[in-house]
């Protein structure tokens, strides 16, 4: 924890392309698609980090990625469910931040 992680140049360009093209799409797409791009981006970031095999404890991040990938499409099928998923996601991340802050030396 606290160590700078290495990602590959390919990963950087993949995420860069995703972020800048998403930024352009957000100009025209429905407002809620922007939230989708952000959580999808979070999943992609987690994918790179998990693939890098440099985590001391990957369980939380793996579960988070799995949950995003499983539930992100709720946006088109069940909007209320999608909002709840976003609330749950932010709550889980906040809890993890607190735990990590408490565990910090």
């Amino acid at each position: 924890m606290g160590q700078r992680m290495m990602v590959t140049e390919d990963d950087v360009f993949e995420l860069l392309a995703f972020l800048v093209t998403s930024a352009r799409l957000c100009v025209d797409e429905p407002r809620l698609y922007g939230t989708f791009r952000l959580v999808d981006g979070a999943s992609r970031l987690l994918g790179f980090v998990l693939e890098s095999d440099q985590l001391e404890d990957e369980q939380f991040l793996q579960q988070l990625k799995d949950e995003i990938d499983e539930k992100k499409m709720l946006l088109v099928a069940d909007q209320e469910g999608y909002f709840k998923f976003l609330d749950d996601l932010t709550r889980k991340v906040a809890r993890e931040l607190k735990e990590r802050a408490g565990a910090a030396p």
């Binding site: 993949e14 093209t21 799409l25």
Partner: protein
């Protein structure tokens, strides 16, 4: 396969196997596309078939709405007439959408999966595929052998969307 059967059975497929699509199948799909009707028979659609792995990766990377790399992309473009009006451009979009439906139904009839995507950065896609100024990429169809079998999404009943003789009157 019967047309009505294909219409009802087709699903948007977003996960594909790595199996390549035979050129003969792609030709059948593209042939179906060119038989789509166009406004005034103008036939201003153009189709870029992307199967090169490096180019496919670039297309995917500039397309946030595409989550997995398929065996092929068909990028459906409209080549604008030099004096194209706003009306003409609207017809190009309609024509490309009709051709896309032919692509997706033909693909389904041939055992392939497909999905229509419009969430890509146009300027970036034009750069990646060297698309000239007067040509607009209107939509992308992803194609491949399906790696998923999604359940049919709900459809509104006819009673809610069909009216008789005037808007809102029960059919």
């Amino acid at each position: 396969m019967d047309v009505l059967e294909a219409i009802k059975q087709r699903r948007s497929i977003r996960q594909f196997t790595e199996q390549a699509i035979e050129r003969e199948l792609l030709e059948q799909i593209l042939d179906a596309a060119r038989w789509a009707p166009t406004a005034g028979n103008q036939q201003r659609w153009r189709f870029i078939v992307v199967t090169d792995p490096t180019v496919k990766e670039m297309v995917r990377k500039v397309s946030p709405g595409i989550f997995a790399t398929p065996a092929a992309f068909i990028v459906i473009c409209a080549e604008k007439a030099p004096d194209a009006s706003a009306w003409d451009e609207w017809t190009y979009l309609a024509d490309c959408a009709i051709a896309a439906q032919n692509v997706m139904l033909a693909a389904h009839a041939l055992g392939l999966g497909s999905c229509l995507a419009i969430s890509y950065a146009r300027a970036a896609l034009k750069e990646v595929l060297d698309i000239p100024d007067q040509v607009k990429p209107e939509m992308i169809v992803t194609l491949g052998y399906p790696a998923e079998d999604p359940a049919p999404p709900p459809r509104l009943p006819l009673s809610q969307i069909v009216f008789a003789d005037e808007y809102g009157k029960e059919w």
